[in-house]
Each structure stands twice: as structure tokens, then as C-alpha cells.
Symmetry: C2
Subunit: 725 residues, 2 copies
């Protein structure tokens, strides 16, 4: 067993279970909540409080919120988006929060017209994009739906021959080069999946492509995976995945205000100069529309691993298919609306626990982001009931409903950039996004919070019987964590890093990028977590991610919405009220040590003649482990400094991982995690070191090892200071 | 290095290379034939003879033979089949062989009419089978082509609901049972691949199915693999895989004469009583015809690993698709024609070296079996040149052109059953079947011949430059032998057994079943080998396996036909003239020891409480290794008995592996190899023991271990007797 477990036994009082099973389905296996909570000296009082909270989230309320939030398409900056902001504001106020809307003016495009035509060879017809239609789902006929487009594509009018580039990864373009296929001046058709779509576009752009067509292959989320909507949850032939393609792995948020908030009077980079804006046009297509293009490509057969599930053999091109692509997007500075609701902390008001979820949607946004907003609103309602009963949290709680996440985390990024100063007191940021698409729970967080995530899951009943933790471990037992297990590919959220060490307990993934925790963790060093309850989700970013789809496939009884609201509320409650913050830096140090081992291997391969030494770095990771375990030991034995001093240390240790930023993209300042430059979603660990290895730059590698070592040692010093008085 | 290699250096004279590169393509890497041959005391003379032989096989002649043999469809028993027999007889005679046609009367069906219709649900249309048609290949319009059918299907008129059973393996039917899908009274649609089609039918029959529809999924050999005919070599949508479905893993050959030759006056089992005849009708379909059936199946989604490449989600059924299947086959006793050509041995006339290839075809049979027949005829022509120059082999050579192989090795089986007595002098049987479909050489044999197969490959130039061995090792280097590497799946020939030990040298596979070596090896214990040069081959058993396909994709220049003729001729020449037969029983013993280790593991899993001991068996395999190595050592040191006595021992050691047959299927008498009961093609090793384990029958296991031990010890005794005088 890991040390923390025995610690908890000493550190908290053992009490008889007093929470009944009434929260779970009584016909299923009995839910037995734990009777101790890490970080609480008086668990009985806390458990009583939690019991009150857990009784509030309600499927009926969740259903009403979902219906209201998905009534119309509500792309960021539109009047319908503003209406959802008002709805959330109202709910925040009803719960007793101090709530307001915070606006930004951001560079934003609205498509005016989009068309794609096959102009050669003769007889091959595509005049698209075709409308998204299935029997039994009329939402897609809503006249307010804009043409399907990719966020931050430039306008363009291009006619060029087409070639196929699989997933558009660097290695896919390498394969094309080896096959003698020249990308220059061509339109590249790329299937969605594997990596962030903006990376695909950058890869194509860097090779001189004239434009990119993105499409959803039925192998990846269509009929090859299972029945398509409306029969099943997978992508029907007309459904289009929209999505942002700006280079948010360089910096997210408004492309014209890197590192600074987009206030009305902000100084701005010219769009043409922005390092995060693509320079070539990008259009998303359904597989019905992509099919005639792919079917008539000539040239060599594609590698067999590039074959998708359309009923013909895939070829590379180039041509003879020639496509005319015309995209007109009107760019201007438009208003977005974050809704911010606050409960002032009674004991440590400048310590802040944050909850966040975006609210803007590509179309109706039932799963993405409605399922998260609904769970957040029910968590807020639960906390509102506690407030009405006179409770006050020790720490300040902020609930945020972000706007324009779909354009690259614009609302959250601008807010973080604006409030960086106050956020130096931030304790933790709990994110949701696609919170519910099915019954399979998964979570990702910084290592110091992984055990906290498991503990919260033990305290909430699962609709499947037992606790969420029970269902989670049962589903994943015997399986090594797969990337798509932790979060489904389409979510674009956190993934389990391949560098993560195996763990005895259920795997909590690592945070990469793709949702609003990014600015908190990777720009200002706030310990973060993300979670969701997942299932087959083929309608991602299409017009079919609506109330009908959601209630048919994702969560017909809103039981998982209730579960997620309970989990999310408990995260916030425990973090806001803990006597000692439940961070485990021994875990953090252990994971970092595993990352170092993994990275050292990569360095040894890259520098076979012998590269820089990792000894000091490894020593730093071991020091962090012992600093973490000694602090918890001191707390346990009553030898520690004052709780306030301990908590400040635990809060600030994460901040110590900040550096001056990665050499090639200084907005990303976390020494341990960053999104991969060529993956966009997946976390790369020790990013400064990893990128120096990838660039085979020995001098940079030496520097980055030093900087990372210093950052980890800084975290240890902070922890050590709290038990050496 | 393995011991044999150094042995050869001593045992044969080292001479300067005297074979030039004129046989290879001079623009490619130089072909350097070896200058020593295992088993020959005077390699110079033998190499001179081989040089003469190797100069004969000629692409032009091969092309003429191919054109003649594929001019018409020539199903066994038809007048066109008889014409090919006459053609081969003529060629044998021209080469100077004593040649004749040997006839049998065999139970055989000719289809009179075949139809399949979808009768429900309304609006789903299939009235088939549809004709096989592609642009640019008119052969398929030949009026002599019979309706596509499965050999030995009974006639039937069935209307029933349909369900999908993936590859029809036992585990697939288990999955259906677990899903609550009842096969009884239903038509089962099964995709080709993975196992012998007759096993699929037996599995369905045993579960009470009303009939079976077999189809070729485009995932397995159609557009998912690559471009389809006529653009590429893969299966076009209308192409049907015909094929025998009788239970030849119980016994091959005429179903009415198990173990005995089908002479005109033979005693016969009633067809209704035959253990090898299926009782339910079977019809093969193209994927164009199978598509509407599969597309409209309801019921649960199939497991995702069952999904094929047709453009919809595959379901299990049952129904609502209901199919009317009507098959009328006229069964009677019909004549088949083996062509047998003999060259009498000058020194050991009762020692026989055999070459075999079938001649009957499902339709035109270019690759299958034309490519083998063409190579055999060119090898015969080469040997004819030697005969004309006055050469006589030491041992008798028999060239056989088998009939009715496509109905389950009928011609070869009946002939072996008839000539079992004379064949007690058989030294080795060299098979070809689908000899050429592309450039990738592969071979399979008993372990005692594996090094011989490599040595022959070193002595023949490859059209790719260097020797066949060079191309073979280069292609497979760094790869562990894949089953489909050794022989492509559709061939149904020998596979690399999963029990085979890893080998330092290029892998030679194990023989299972599926071609005419079966009766030789597994019924009468003749050391056997099979080989071919393979490539993408999607037209297997369809009307498109014709001259046009062959010359477009398999071997446009007939260079690989020339290669295969040279290899085959060298096999025969060396085995017929060797001073000491080139069998390596140390290799055989090593492989058997690996099989024992593998099987012991399986026994340990099946009898966790502790099953019978394998110690005596392991000891026997070690004794065989040392008997093999000591005999070769004695030969090397001149301490061995007379060459005749050594050769007789080496010849008869294989025969020692025969037992009284497997308990459930006594026709199969080899203690080391048999086709799998639930695979049909793939070799299972130590079959008596393996089946006792599978039946969890401890008593049978003890018996089979004893019988197998005795057989191996018997082989050792024979070898030991030859160097202890």
C-alpha cells in the first residue's frame, strides 16, 4: 500500500458509517461511503455537510437546465450565447453567489459563406457542404445554424489538386515525402483523430499546402465503430465535426493579445502577424461529402494503415481530383461573456478554489458543453442550499462559466491573463467540459490531486451501484490505461501520458490541453483536474449533439448528470473547507521521477555519444518526494507549523513549477506539463527538456535540465519551510 | 551457428564457384551459387549436372503452358479437365518419362442450379448469385463456367432467417451463444478467412443451422487490402470464392471410400453415412451479393472485431432478413485422371522421390493450380534434357499431376491409398500448388528438410538479384514469421505453427493441410515439403484467377515460374541423386522438443492440479536429436554403416512417426503433425496429445504421451541402427 493510505487512518478520526444508501439505487449493490476524509480534523461534521449537499443534485433539475441550454444554437458572441450567459447568471444568483458577467472583446470570425466543389475529373460531383440531416432529429434544420466551419480559418478562394495525408501527423507528412508526393500548392484532405486539428493544419501549412479539408472517417467515429445516429450514438454520414484550428499550442485565447487580457482598450497584434493564426484555409466535411474526393484520388495506394472505412481503396493522389474551395469569414472584435459567481471565504478569503466549464457551443452543445454546465449548475444549487442554511466556506469559491472555449479557450485564457495577480491565491481549478456522454468515469489531474480525485469518487454513489470509484475500478481493472480510456479521442481533453508510471490504484490521467484548465495549470501554475463520464460519442461538434441525441444515448435519466454534479460539488467543498489541503507531493515527486526516467531514455537515444547528466534532476524529484512525505508526517504528528503556513506551502508548491516559459512558446510556463507541439492535446512531460531533446540541442538541454531542477527544488523548499520552524 | 553448418563444411568438398551469374539478371546483385551440396561426395559433378538443368526452364515455355492450361474452365471430371490431363501426359512423354493416366471413380457433384433470394424484409433485393464481371476481363463470360458452388454441399431448398457469425470459428459461435443468439434452424452468414471453410460449416451444422452462406469480406481480400481487379490484384465486388467444404480434417479424398482407393469396384460407404460429408447446404457469395443481407440484419451490434469493411455497422441478427436458398447438385460417381510420369532409379529403384501438383481448377485456375503445373512441367522438361543426355537418377522419380484436389485432395488421396505398399520406399514428396502469385518466396516442410529447403533456395537465382535465399531472408529479416507470411491465408496451404521454435535462419513453416502433401505426410509418413512465391491474391477460387489476371499481377514475365521450376527440379534432382540423403534429424528432434515444451504448458493450464508427466517424451526428443547428430557425425568421420543402410534409415525414420491414428480420426496417423480439427489448415503439433488436452481427458493424455514417446523412440532406434554395426 502507498504511504498516504495509512496516514489517513491516523490523521482523521475513524467513525462509523452514518451516510445511508439512500443516494444510490437500492436495487443495486450497496453504496458505502468512506468514513474518513483526508485533510479534515473533524470528518463527522464535514460528512454531515456533504450529506446535505449530496441530497440536492436532481435529475429533474438537470433535465430542465439541459433543455434550456440546448434550445438554440449558441456559438460564442451570438445573441443566443448571451441568453445562456443570462440563464447561468440567474442560476448563480438564485444560489446566493455574488455573480456577474465579465466581458472581453476578442478577435472572432463569423462565416458568411462556405462552398466546396469538385471541378475535376468530369463526372465526379460534389457541391457542398451538404446539410446535416437524419430522420427524427429536426434540430439540424434550425435556420440559426451557421455553415459548418473551422474556427480561425482565413477566408480564401482556392482551386487546387487534392492529396490525402491520413491524420496529418508529422510522420504522415514524412511518409508522403518519402513517397515523392509534394504537398506544395495542394489541398490536403486529412481525417480527424489522433491529434489536435490545429496541429494538422500547421503541419500542412509548413509544407506549403494551399489549404486543408478535414473530414470524419467512418472508421474513427462512424459506422465502423457502431450504429450511427439516430439508430446509435455514432456519427451519421452527413454530420460535420466543426472545431478551432488556431495554434493554441503556441498560445491559446485571443490570437491578437498573447499573454494579455482582451479588454476593450487592449493593445493588439495585427492578425496578419499573429503566431497563433493559420494562414491557409480549412474546411470540415462529413464523410458523405468527403467520399467522392477520396474515391477518385489516383496516385499510389495509401499505406494500408491509412485505409479508412469508406468502401474503396484509399490513394494518396495528387489529383486528378481538383477542388474549388471558397470560404468567406467576417472577422471583427466581438464581445464574449464569462459568467463569474463567487462565495467569499470566511477564514482564508484570498485562497481561491475554482470551478470552471465553458458554455458556448458549436451548435446546440448538449454533451459539449451542456452536460458540464448542467452538472456545474446542480453543484452550484447544492452549495446554494448550504449557504442558505448558514454555511460559509473557509476559502473563497469561484464558479466560472467560460465563453468562446470552442475558439481555443478564449474566455478562460483572457480571464486568467486579466486576474493573474489575484489568482496567486488560487488553490485548485476543477474543470468539466464534456462531462457526460455515457457511463464510464475517467479523470485527469496533476499528480498531487490524483488521490484526492479517487477519494471524491469513493464518496459518490454510481447509478451502476456501489460508488463511482467502484464502477471506475471495475471497468478499468486488468486493463492498462489506454489513452482513449482516460478521455475519448474526440473530447480533446486530458490524456494519460505514456510517460506516467504504472500505479497500483485506478489510473488518473495527466492533463495536456484542449479545455479550460490549460491557462490555469500551464500559464499560472494552479493545480488542476478534469473529469467526465464517457460513452460512444460520434456526434462531437456536429448539429446532432443536441437534446434528442443526449437523452437517447448519453444519459436518458440524467443519472450521470446527477453523479457529476455530486462529484464536482464535493471537489469544491472539500478543497474549500479542508483543514489541511489534500495535496500529495510525494505522489507528485514519484511521477516526476518516472517522467525523468522516461525522458532520460529518450535523451540517451538522441545523444548516443553521451548527453548531459540527469543526476541533479533525479535528486530533485527524490527531494520533492521526501519533502511531501515529511510534511504530511509532521502534520500527522502535530509537529508542523501553523495550518495556515502548511496550507500556503501546499498551495504555492505547484506555482513553484513555473519557469519563464518554454523557449519556443513562452506562454507555456509549467516545467512539468505542456501540450505537445505536434499533438496539441496530449500532455508532454518535462516539456523544456523534451523539446531540447527533439531539437537535438545539447546546450538547450543542459539549460532546461537546470531550469527544471531549480523549479522542482523550489517546490521542495516551499514544502520544507512549512515543517521547519 | 547451428551444428549442421560446420558439418557441411567437412562433409563436402570446398570448390571454387564455377556457376556464373548468367542465370540471374546481370543488372542486379550478383548471384553466387554455393560450391558445396549436403549429401554429395562429388559436388563438382552434381553442380555441373545442376547447371545443365538450371539452364532449361524458360519463361517462354512457361507462358505457352499457362496459356494452354487456362484456355478453358477445367473443373475436375469435366471433358476440359481431361484435355489438360492429355496435355500434361504429352509433356511428360516428350520429356522421356514413362507416363500414363490413372483413373478413379469418385463421388462427385455437379451443380445444376443455384439461387438465393431475400424474401424479407420487403424492399431489400437480392436475386442471386450475380454473375462475376469486371471490365477488361471477358473470360468470366465463358459459357462453360458452372454456377459458383461449394464442393460437397448437399442439394437443398431452405427458407430461413439469417444471422452473422464472423469467421465461423468455435469461439465465434461461443460469442453468439453468450449473446443469446440461437443458431438452430437459421441460415448462418460467415465470412471467409482464418480457418478452412469446411470447419465453419461443421461448426454451424453441429449447432443446428439450416445452412451456411459463405462470403468474401472486402476487409479480408477486397478493397480494404488494396485496389481490386482489374485495377489491382484484390477481389472485385462480384468475385466469388468457391471451395470444398467437406470435412477433410476427418479424412480427405472421396467421402465414400475412407482409407481405401476409389477403384471402379471399390466398396463404398453410403453418402448419407459418410462422416466427411456436410449435411447442410452451403453457398458462396461475392460481397456485392452478401451486402444487402448483412446491411439489413438487426439484433445486437456485432462485436467490433467482427466488423468488416462494408459501409455499415454489422449486426448479429437473427433476421429480419429471411433468405430463400435453393441448391441442386447432381451427385454421381465420376472419373478423375491423375497423370503419373516415372523415371526409374538406376541404383535404388525402389526408393522413390515424388513431385506433385494438382491440375483441376475451380474455373480457369491460372495461379491455382496453373502456376504450379507450369513450374512442374518446366522442371520435367529440364530433367528430360538430362535424360536425353544419358543421365539416370540413383532413385526412382515420380511426377504426379493430381486431379480433384479442389474437392478435398481426392486424386492424391486415392492414389496414395492405392499405392501405399510401393510407397513404403518413398523418400520425399515435393508439392507445389499455388506456386506463383507474386515475388515473395516461402516454404514449409518437415523439420528434417528445412535446411535442405534453404540450401536449394541458395542455388537458384532470384529475379530480384542474388539467390532466392537472399531475397527470402532479406524480405523476412527482422520479422518474426507471421502465419500469413509463410503462406497467404487464401492459399489454405501450410502455415508456420505457433509452436515452432524461433530459428536463427530464415523460417521454413510447418505443414498443416490444404494441399496434396496431406496423404503423403499424414497418412503414410513420407517426408514432405511445399513452397510458393506469393503476392497479393484476391481472386482466389474466382473466375478471375485467369491468364489475364496472372500476367497482369502475379508474374508478367514468367520469371517466377522459371524460378519455381528451377527450385522444384533441384529438389527432385538432389533428393534422387544424393549419396547420403540430406535429412537432418537433429533439427527434427529440436523442433519436437519445442513442441513438447509448448504442449506441456497447455497441459499445465488444462490440468492445474497436475497432469501426466512429459519427462519420457522430452527424453525421447533429446534422444532423437543425438541420434540425428551422431549419424551425421559418423557419416562425416567415415564410421557409418554402408550408404544404403544409412539412406534406408534416413528414409524410414519419418515413417516411424506413424501411429494407429488419432483416436477421433484414425486416417491421420502422424504423431507430430495433423491439421487442426477446428482450423482445418493450420498444423497442430503432437496432435494426439493436443486433442487429449483439449478434451481434458487425462487417461487419453497418458496414452497419447506414451504412443508419441514410442513413435519418437522408434525413429531414434532406426537412426541409431545405421551407425552401430
Amino acid at each position: 500500500m502507498r504511504p498516504l493510505v495509512s496516514l489517513i487512518v491516523f490523521w482523521t478520526l475513524l467513525i462509523a458509517p452514518f451516510l445511508g444508501t439512500e443516494l444510490g439505487d437500492p436495487t443495486k449493490s450497496v453504496f458505502e461511503p468512506p468514513n474518513a476524509i483526508a485533510g479534515f480534523e473533524k470528518p463527522i461534521a464535514q460528512l454531515a455537510l456533504e450529506k446535505k449537499f449530496l441530497a440536492v443534485p436532481d435529475p429533474k433539475h438537470a433535465e430542465q437546465d439541459m433543455r434550456a441550454l440546448t434550445a438554440t444554437p449558441h456559438l460564442a458572441t451570438t445573441p443566443e450565447d448571451r441568453k445562456t450567459a443570462d440563464y447561468v447568471l440567474q442560476k448563480f444568483k438564485e444560489a446566493g453567489l455574488q455573480a456577474s458577467i465579465e466581458e472581453y472583446k476578442v478577435y472572432f470570425g463569423i462565416p458568411e459563406s462556405v462552398s466546396i466543389d469538385i471541378v475535376a475529373p468530369e463526372g465526379v460531383v460534389l457541391h457542398g457542404p451538404s446539410p446535416e440531416r437524419v430522420d427524427g432529429d429536426d434540430g439540424s434544420k434550425d435556420s440559426r445554424i451557421l455553415p459548418a466551419f473551422n474556427g480561425y480559418t482565413p477566408s480564401a478562394d482556392v482551386t487546387a489538386e487534392v492529396l490525402y495525408a491520413n491524420y496529418g501527423r508529422p510522420e504522415d507528412f514524412d511518409t508522403l515525402a518519402q513517397a515523392g508526393v509534394d504537398v506544395k500548392g495542394k489541398l490536403v484532405i486529412i481525417r480527424y483523430g489522433e491529434i489536435f486539428r490545429g496541429v494538422k493544419v500547421l503541419q500542412a501549412q509548413q509544407r506549403g499546402a494551399a489549404g486543408v479539408i478535414l473530414y470524419s472517417d467512418p472508421m474513427d467515429d462512424g459506422y465502423f465503430k457502431g450504429d450511427v445516429y439516430p439508430k446509435g450514438p455514432y456519427r451519421p454520414s452527413s454530420a460535420v465535426q466543426r472545431g478551432d484550428v488556431h495554434f493554441m499550442f503556441r498560445y491559446p485565447g485571443d490570437p491578437t493579445t498573447p499573454g494579455a487580457p482582451s479588454s476593450a482598450t487592449a493593445e493588439r497584434t495585427e492578425a496578419a502577424q499573429s503566431a497563433s493564426l493559420p494562414k491557409i484555409p480549412v474546411l470540415p466535411l462529413s464523410y458523405a461529402d468527403a467520399s467522392p474526393i477520396l474515391q477518385h484520388l489516383a496516385g499510389p495506394e495509401s499505406p494500408r494503415s491509412w485505409q479508412g472505412a469508406l468502401p474503396f481503396t484509399y490513394h494518396l493522389g495528387v489529383g486528378p481530383v481538383k477542388v474549388h474551395l471558397k470560404i468567406a469569414v467576417h472577422y471583427e472584435y466581438r464581445t464574449i461573456w464569462n459568467v463569474i459567481g463567487t462565495v467569499k471565504g470566511a477564514e482564508y478569503p484570498s485562497d481561491i478554489v475554482l470551478s470552471g466549464n465553458h458554455r458556448d457551443a458549436w451548435v446546440f452543445g448538449a454533451a459539449d458543453p451542456g452536460s458540464g454546465t448542467v452538472a456545474q449548475l446542480e453543484a452550484v444549487r447544492g452549495i446554494g442550499q448550504l449557504l442558505k442554511a448558514g454555511w460559509r466556506p473557509k476559502r473563497t469559491i469561484i464558479f466560472a462559466s467560460w465563453d468562446a472555449e470552442e475558439q481555443g479557450m478564449v474566455g478562460s485564457t483572457e480571464w486568467v491573463e486579466q486576474h493573474a495577480q489575484e489568482l496567486s491565491g488560487a488553490v485548485a481549478y476543477f474543470n468539466m467540459d464534456v462531462a457526460v456522454t455515457g457511463p464510464n468515469f475517467a479523470a485527469a489531474s496533476v499528480p498531487s490531486l490524483k488521490q484526492f480525485m479517487r477519494d471524491v469518487a469513493k464518496s459518490v454513489p454510481s447509478p451502476q451501484g456501489g460508488s463511482v470509484y467502484d464502477a471506475w475500478t471495475e471497468r478499468t481493472s486488468g486493463k492498462s490505461p489506454q489513452r482513449n480510456e482516460v478521455f475519448p479521442d474526440v473530447n480533446g481533453s486530458a490524456r494519460h501520458s505514456s510517460a506516467a508510471p504504472p500505479h497500483q490504484d485506478v489510473a488518473v490521467g495527466d492533463l495536456g490541453s484542449g479545455s479550460d484548465y490549460t491557462p490555469f495549470l500551464e500559464h499560472i501554475g494552479v493545480a488542476s483536474a478534469d473529469m467526465g463520464s464517457h460513452g460512444p460519442y460520434g456526434v462531437y461538434h456536429s448539429a446532432f449533439d443536441d437534446y434528442t441525441w443526449f437523452t437517447k444515448f448519453a444519459d436518458p435519466k440524467f443519472a450521470y448528470e446527477q453523479q457529476m454534479a455530486r462529484l464536482h460539488g464535493l471537489q469544491v467543498l472539500r478543497m474549500a473547507d479542508a483543514d489541511v489541503l489534500p495535496f500529495d507531493y510525494e505522489d507528485y515527486g514519484q511521477e516526476i521521477e518516472a517522467y525523468i526516467e522516461y525522458t532520460k531514455q529518450r535523451a540517451a537515444e538522441s545523444f548516443p555519444e553521451g548527453g548531459p547528466k540527469f543526476d541533479e534532476l533525479t535528486k530533485a524529484s527524490k527531494r520533492l518526494q521526501s519533502a511531501g512525505s515529511m510534511l504530511l508526517g509532521a502534520v500527522k504528528a502535530g509537529r508542523a507549523a501553523s495550518p495556515a503556513r502548511i496550507n500556503t506551502a501546499l498551495r504555492d508548491a505547484e506555482r513553484a513549477f513555473l519557469t519563464n516559459g518554454l523557449p519556443s512558446r513562452p506562454w507555456f510556463r509549467h516545467a512539468i506539463y505542456a501540450p505537445g507541439e505536434s499533438t496539441g492535446y496530449e500532455a508532454i512531460v518535462l516539456p523544456g527538456i523534451t523539446e531540447a531533446i527533439e531539437h537535438h540541442d545539447q546546450q538547450a538541454l543542459v539549460e532546461q535540465i537546470q531550469l527544471t531542477t531549480a523549479a522542482i527544488n523550489h517546490a521542495s523548499e516551499i514544502l520544507e519551510s512549512a515543517h521547519s520552524f
